[in-house]
C-alpha cells in the first residue's frame, strides 16, 4: 500500500501533462495536423521520396465569400474595382455583385472563388495566417474519413474520384458540408480546388530543359513511370492543374484555405 501515494502522484502528473497539451489554444476554425510524412505523388529522378511535414494548423473549411468580404472591406486595394491587374486577372471576384456585395451568386457561406494566388496570399497574411504548402495540403488531404492513410481506403478513393469527374456547379454549395476527414478537416475534396503557397514549384522537368516538358512528363503515358501510384488519378489531376496555373489566374472553382505554424 505504500506505493499508492507515488502512483497516484505519477498519475496526476501524467494527467496534468495531458491536460496541458490538450489545453494548448487551437486557433478558432483550425485543426491540428500533427507531424507526418508526405509521400510525393510525382517523383523526378532526384526528388526526395519522403518529405517530412512538420505539424501545423489548417483551416477546417475553405475561406468563404463572407470571410473574403471582411478582407476587402479592410483592404481597399483588394476590392474588385481597385485590384492591380498584375495581381489578379480580369475574372477577379467576377461572381460578386459589386466591390462590397458578394450578391446572390456568391453566398456568404460558400467558398470564395475567382481569387488569384496573390489575393489568397494577402488575405491569409491579413488573417495572421499563410497558405499551406503543397506538401502540407497533400498530406492533410491524404487522410480519409476514418484513417490518416486514405490511400488504403478504397471507398474514400472512389468518392474523391467521383467528385473529380463532375464539373463544379455554377453556384458553389456552402463550406463544411462534405464529411470531415480523420483530422477533422472538411472539403479538401468535393468542393473547390485550392491554392497552395508553392503552386509554382509543383512540377518542373527534372532536367530543366524548358517549360513544355512539364505537361509531357505528366500526361504522356511514359510520364506515368515517375508517378508513385499510377491509379491515383486525382493526384495526377491536382498536379496537372497546379502546374497549369499562373498566379494571377482567377477561376470559378479555385479557392483557398489558410494554414498557420504551431
Amino acid at each position: 500500500m505504500l506505493n499508492i501515494g507515488p502512483r497516484i502522484y505519477l498519475a496526476t502528473l501524467l494527467a496534468s501533462v495531458t491536460v496541458a497539451r490538450a489545453a494548448e489554444p487551437s486557433p478558432i476554425g483550425m485543426a491540428l495536423i500533427p507531424d507526418g510524412v508526405y509521400h510525393p505523388f510525382f517523383l523526378a529522378q532526384n526528388d526526395l521520396k519522403d518529405v517530412p511535414v512538420k505539424g501545423f494548423w489548417l483551416d477546417i473549411v475553405p475561406v468563404t465569400n463572407g470571410d473574403f468580404l471582411a478582407f476587402v472591406r479592410a483592404n481597399a486595394q483588394w476590392r474588385r474595382s481597385q485590384v492591380k491587374r498584375i495581381f489578379a486577372d480580369d475574372a477577379y471576384l467576377k461572381n460578386w455583385m459589386d466591390d462590397l456585395d458578394p450578391g446572390t451568386n456568391a453566398p456568404a457561406h460558400a467558398p470564395v472563388a475567382f481569387v488569384s494566388w496573390f489575393a489568397a496570399k494577402a488575405c491569409a497574411q491579413w488573417k495572421g495566417k499563410r497558405l499551406p504548402t503543397a506538401a502540407e495540403w497533400e498530406y492533410a488531404a491524404s487522410a480519409g474519413p476514418t484513417r490518416k492513410d486514405g490511400e488504403n481506403d478504397a471507398g474514400f478513393k472512389r468518392q474523391v474520384l467521383e467528385w473529380y469527374s463532375k464539373p463544379a456547379p455554377a453556384r458553389l454549395p456552402p463550406v463544411g458540408t462534405t464529411r470531415a476527414n480523420f483530422w477533422g478537416i472538411h472539403d479538401l475534396h468535393g468542393l473547390v480546388w485550392e491554392w497552395v503557397a508553392d503552386f509554382n514549384t509543383a512540377m518542373v522537368t527534372g532536367d530543366a530543359r524548358g517549360d513544355t516538358g512539364l505537361n509531357r512528363q505528366l500526361f504522356c503515358g511514359a510520364g506515368a513511370q515517375g508517378a508513385r501510384d499510377v491509379e491515383n488519378y486525382p493526384a495526377f489531376m491536382r498536379y496537372g492543374f497546379r502546374s497549369s496555373l499562373r498566379a494571377d489566374y482567377c477561376i470559378h472553382n479555385l479557392g483557398f484555405r489558410c494554414a498557420k505554424d504551431l
Binding site: R73, I86, N105, H109, N200, T201, T205, R209, N215, H252
Partner: protein, 206 residues
Amino acid sequence: MMPRTNILGAALALLIAGAGNAAEARPASCCAPTALSATTNFTDKSLYQSDSKWMTDTGKRIKLGELKGKVQVVAMFFANCQYACPIIVNDMKRIEAALSADQRANIGFTLVSFDTKRDTPAALAAYRLAHALPANHWTLLHGEPDDLLELAALLGAQFKEDANGQFAHSNVITVLNAQGEIVYQQLGLNQGIMETVRILRQLAAK
C-alpha cells in the same frame, strides 16, 4: 504551359442568378497589414508593385521598385547550377555585348537567385567577380523563400529544389520596361538572343 481553357472545361457554365442566402459577413479575426500597399506610383501591370524585399551582393537592402527608370533584363538562377544557368547568364552577357554604350546606359541586368541558403550576398559577390559582371549594369539579388515564390509567380516561372540541392527551373529571360512591366520573355535555352536585343534597342531608344 497548358492552355487555361483546357483546364476550365466547364468554366463556361455561367452563373445563374438565384435566390441567395447572402448573410452578414463575419468580422475579421485580426488585422495584420497586407503585404501590398495600395498607394504606389507604379502602373497596374508593374512588377514593382511587389513589396518583396531583397539584398544585393553588396549587402544593400532594396525593393524591386528601386529598379524603376531603367529597362531591366531579369532572370532567376542559382550560382551552383551545372547546366542551364551558365547558358542563361551567358545569353544575358551576349545581349549586353550586342548593345551600344548609349543603349547600355539605359538598361540594367538583374539576376535573382533561387538558392536562399547558399547564394548569400557574399556568395553572389564572388559570382559577380568570377563572371566579370560589371557593377554599373548588373544587379545580383538574394531573397527569402517567400519573396522568391512571389517573384517567380510574377515572372510566370517555376522552380523546385531537388534532394541534391539543385534547382529544376524554368529558363526565362524577362525584359521589363522602365515602369517594371513585362514586355517580352525569352523562353527556353538556346533560343537566340536577337529578338530580345531588338526589343531592348527599341526600348532604349525611347
